[in-house]
Symmetry: C2
Subunit: 364 residues, 2 copies
């Protein structure tokens, strides 16, 4: 079945972002016009106000709010910085240029706006996300990292110079980079019925070479370690807009497990946002129990790995599904870890011929 | 002027690789057939045998040779491992599958060939490179890392399923990933007259958005930090096959400087190879003197940066061109470093409008 997507969601969203920026400016203007000191109120992101919501299966912010007021001399600087960040984001969005957090930090100096260090400017950008309820990628501030996608999906660009051009994501057999242009593209059509996300570049290439996209009717996404935010947002869009189930394959260790978890439930740092995680995505392997069942070659878990497992055990995101607890316990018992490539001990294509179909079935 | 390249160089090279593997097998077979213990002789890669060649502007191996003989009981294991590595490389190449160093390590177990750890299997692959005079990418063992390219170059794929298909490297405005498929593609045509290599992903995107490829008639290559081997080989091919001069832009610190140097002169680890560096490439910035001249926002050089500068000062690769010495000295004097993004203090497009043309002219 060929799915056709009603296009326009990206363009619609861009308009919403611009109008939310405009509204912010307007509210400040009106306060000043009314003879008041202008202020901005937003949910607090302090640790006490971050709660895990089992319904949404992600962290959310509670009811506490903070107010930045130009009346308060201690607020004056962060207030001005926040207004500048909104101005700069508006310029980026309306001029259709992209930027990075690092770039924002230096760009401030062109406006004689000073930040103590990059940490300070990063925080202000997060404030702006919190105020507007959009993520910084929505106002064209992108991460440095790039990952990739491959498979039967036709997209349509919305970036300048490429508007209306389409691209089939099987065009380049090394995979198509997920950068600002792909992230802001509309989905036109796909025959795929699932998404398989893969941690490692070598395995991503193996999957393409072995035609996993065709044999399993799948879009393949490379996370390249911890998935960049733009990639997590992209995975969510595939899940939401195209209704494709998502399966995540990582190394069999606490770090791989957490790569899957962040795709599924997001991070506490992004408790103020809703569009960076995919609650229905599944962690399909490599599980600790796979290490046992498939008799994989392993390395010992070191002290840092063990410490990480103890942290994960206490993490509310890991408390929902008994699967995670079973796997954490098994890791602790066997005290071993295994990489995705470990399946090559049974031959290069074993992972595609045997392991992948078994795990897709098991985690369906 | 449109350059057309006589195609066939990649296919030709693949044939050479396969026949060098075949010759290796044949020589072992003939030795056994002649009643001798088989042996393999290759240049030594010990430190004493690695010399810097000012003519070639890279490290090369001297005259010392080592022999691995099946007669010597201590050689027996590495000899068998090397023969297995050749067998496995031959399988990869003839089946047209790619692999990674990590995959090679695990794959050995499918053949009941044991390696103590991955370091041991990596060494054996380097031995095989040394014996054959081809780099491991030639026999389909690729790095995990992926970088990207963008610009007016049409390539023709040689990988299975894509043979004969062409691709214009401006097709995807996020940049086209440099993986096994692109690395093994033939160059069909280009109108570009230079290559600009860039360290950072954010700046690579900025250059695309600002149409640097068109304004400066350039192919843009993202190195994404230290350029992966496949990317360095790709840059050399652009320089050699298409006769394009190469300009490298990095952060203004000892690490950025060395990213440029490795593109230009390669590394001591690859002294046994000739195709991973581009001796005529230029480091065009960010120089220490640029930091001074452009009054860039800076951070202090820390202890590790200073230590690195002292190491580079003693490195033979840095002794050739007075430019490097001047810049090392300037870094030591100003004790400051600056990132590429620092130019944003003069506005987002300053780096493209002012800095880039000035530096291209200066390092022509």
């Amino acid at each position: 079945m060929e799915k056709k997507k009603h296009k326009g969601s990206v363009v619609e969203r861009k308009k919403e972002v611009l109008s939310s920026l405009e509204n912010l400016g307007l509210s400040i203007y009106e306060q000043i016009d009314g003879g008041q000191f202008p202020s901005i109120t937003m949910p607090s992101r302090s640790t006490e106000n971050i709660n895990y919501d089992p319904q949404l299966r992600q962290f959310i912010l509670g009811d506490r709010r903070v107010k930045r007021s130009a009346r308060n001399i201690r607020h004056l600087k962060p207030f001005a910085q926040l207004v500048w960040a909104a101005l700069f984001s508006n310029e980026l969005s309306s001029q259709r240029k992209t930027s990075t957090l690092r770039d924002v930090y230096y760009s401030a100096q062109a406006y004689e706006m000073t930040f103590k260090d990059q940490q300070e400017s990063n925080n202000i950008i997060t404030d702006l996300e919190t105020v507007l309820g959009f993520s910084r990628e929505d106002f064209n501030i992108f991460p440095e990292e790039r990952s990739a996608v491959f498979g039967d999906l036709t997209i349509e660009y919305t970036v300048p110079g490429y508007e209306g051009k389409t691209m089939d994501l099987t065009s380049h057999p090394d995979g198509v980079m997920i950068g600002p242009a792909l992230t802001s593209a509309e989905f036109v059509k796909t025959k795929a019925d699932k998404v398989i996300a893969i941690e490692k570049g070598g395995l991503f290439t193996r999957f393409i070479e072995e035609n996993v996209h065709r044999k399993f009717n799948a879009l393949l996404v490379l996370t390249a370690g911890q998935a960049p935010r733009a990639t997590r947002h992209f995975i969510r869009r595939l899940n939401e807009e195209l209704k494709l189930p998502v399966y995540v394959f990582t190394d069999g260790d606490p770090w791989g497990m957490h790569i899957a978890m962040v795709i599924i439930s997001g991070s506490a740092n992004a408790a103020h946002l809703r569009e960076l995680n995919t609650p229905d995505a599944k962690w399909s392997g490599v599980w600790a129990t796979d290490i046992v069942n498939y008799k994989l070659p392993t390395d010992p878990l070191d002290e840092i790995d063990m410490k990480r497992l103890l942290e994960l055990q206490k993490d509310p995101r890991y408390k929902e599904d008994p699967l995670w607890h079973r796997e954490i316990k098994t890791f602790m018992k066997i005290k071993r870890k295994a990489e995705q490539e470990a399946f090559s001990r049974y031959g290069l294509t074993y992972i595609v011929d045997e392991y992948l179909p078994a795990k897709l079935e098991e985690t369906r």
